[in-house]
Symmetry: C2
Subunit: 354 residues, 2 copies
Amino acid sequence: MSQPTNDPVPDPGSGTRRQRVKLSDVARAAGVDLSTASRLIRNQSANYRPETVERVNRVAKELGYRTNQQARALRLGRQQAIAMLVPDLDNFGFTRVLRGAQEVCEERGFTLLISEIDPSSSNQNSRLASLEGRVDGILVAYGSASDTGITGGLDQLGLPTVLVQRGAPDATASVLFDEEANAAAMVDYLVGLGHRSVAHVSGALSTDTGIRRERGFNAALIRHGLEIPADWRADGAWTIDGGRAATFAIMNSASGHPTALSVDSLVEGIGALSALRELNVAVPGEVSVIAIDEHLVAAHTSPPLTTVRLDQRALGRRAAEMLFDRLDGAAGQRVIIDSAAEIVPRESTAPPRT
Amino acid sequence: MSQPTNDPVPDPGSGTRRQRVKLSDVARAAGVDLSTASRLIRNQSANYRPETVERVNRVAKELGYRTNQQARALRLGRQQAIAMLVPDLDNFGFTRVLRGAQEVCEERGFTLLISEIDPSSSNQNSRLASLEGRVDGILVAYGSASDTGITGGLDQLGLPTVLVQRGAPDATASVLFDEEANAAAMVDYLVGLGHRSVAHVSGALSTDTGIRRERGFNAALIRHGLEIPADWRADGAWTIDGGRAATFAIMNSASGHPTALSVDSLVEGIGALSALRELNVAVPGEVSVIAIDEHLVAAHTSPPLTTVRLDQRALGRRAAEMLFDRLDGAAGQRVIIDSAAEIVPRESTAPPRT
DNA sequence: TTCTACCGTACAATCGATTGTATCGAGTAC
DNA sequence: GTACTCGATACAATCGATTGTACGGTAGAA
């Protein structure tokens, strides 16, 4: 190893890498001690002479000093960064959660790093491990897939974690929507239009969110005094193809077909529209369709899809805040926040044909 | 500050944070020097006794030792991580590029961190700066928006950068598709179906990619001996709404309307279908539509959209590889790779009505 | 005039790991 | 028997920043 210990002359050969200015350079140039420079750079100027403060800061600027985050992180024992894990960036649900979390991070001077980790892939644990030492905590946005493996890996990491829009039996720290209410909102809307025959394309019933929406759907039916055949409920697995398959199953069921479809996610809703088109079923003429998750594409499907907008930004914000609390030593809780569910009416819903 | 310097007893009060095992703990427990432990943990066992090697590794495992990445990064001066900047995770184009880069990172033992930075937002520079010291290099996937600000901030960072599917006049390091060929592929396909009146919904003409696709479109027309009116070209700005507006403009143009639309991106294609539906124009009966960017949603629009699939995974891979080369000191280059453009025929295209 | 405060700044330990070089001891050759 | 070699491991500097405490000097009080 070449070690020109006291030769600060930048190597002229490697044009790319300019010598990095460090704190000791600033201190020397300003004629003060390293510790003085350190404090003044960080505005801990309480006891210092204004003159010194000014000089140090000026020199730092002139030299283009920027603190080395690795060194800082090592000394402080923290990274000032958190990670958000998502299973699938192709799913429409995550971006607004991400942005909410991003906002909070920015307010706190933290960096948000995103990592896509497919929970079904084999190397997820190594990817998780690679996050170690880079972040102080983890937000897990896994609403849409089975994820038993992930939680195991997370435990090993020993980092504070908050689950977002997804519960787990053993997880204390999680931020959830009132999914029962969200599902019920769709039924209420359809019933309000006059529908009495409402089928349900659910999210994956292996997931917490799927189960709770199913429960909300059922509760709403009972509240409205409705009963539907068992084969009007189908698991759409949180995917386009799953939604398609579920819709085919419902429409071809022995019980005849419903006048409306309550769908647990936008991607499944797109699948449902696709199936109905293939079956030559008019939407909303013969069957109305409504789905959870608002996104710009919903305005441009055929027909434009009526959706339920959830306040996912707020979800992301709240989750990030809880994570920061945990970093400060607070215990994790299971919090259910108001999703501020709002129907965005478009052309896929209408009163049933009489 | 509480400094129980030589009191390694973990505080029983803070149940959350278990005392972290460090290398010196392992060394002590194994009865060897820190340096020995360091080397053996990293399999630099060249000169060591097999017995010692075994003992150190066993102790490390027993104690659950995991190397502190911050300390390692500080010592080594590198992070073993790179970042990928995307402007908008809602755009369908990025996920496969991301995954390609992810693959290469994994092969090299690097971590890929994703960061969404809206190039039009005001705080982009602070977000960029927050990446400093966390990553060794940056992949910039900005194909779809103006980004003059970003490049400025990147320069200041002084990190090796590679631009992905996006050129810049002054950028040496970039990996690009042959966009002229991609655009031409759409025209060829439409002409092959018998169309002679082909309009163009282009990507934002303020972007490099937009300009090059426009050029390819024009070249293809000439090659086929076709000429079209000026108002059959409209800028769709890489967005759904832009694509809609551009389609309205073309369809309402004084020159009458074309029999086919060649659209530069899937999102704009969705906008185009939306506009055509609103205009009661039959697709593909009156107007065929084809767009660049394959994605599952294209199979489920109405009608399903014929698309051009580009090998974005390869793009991501190549870009990551170039970035690693740059980290090793290689100069950046401007590389154009084969996009392996492939038409995915669906129901939005058909021969023109005679 | 001498002692006490206090102000402004410097000293030095520390975070956890990496790595060039020194050292110790045993075996071998003469 | 002495010197030399080499194998196995220890020593110590270092990466760049943070922070508790010590220290020197000046001013006000006695």
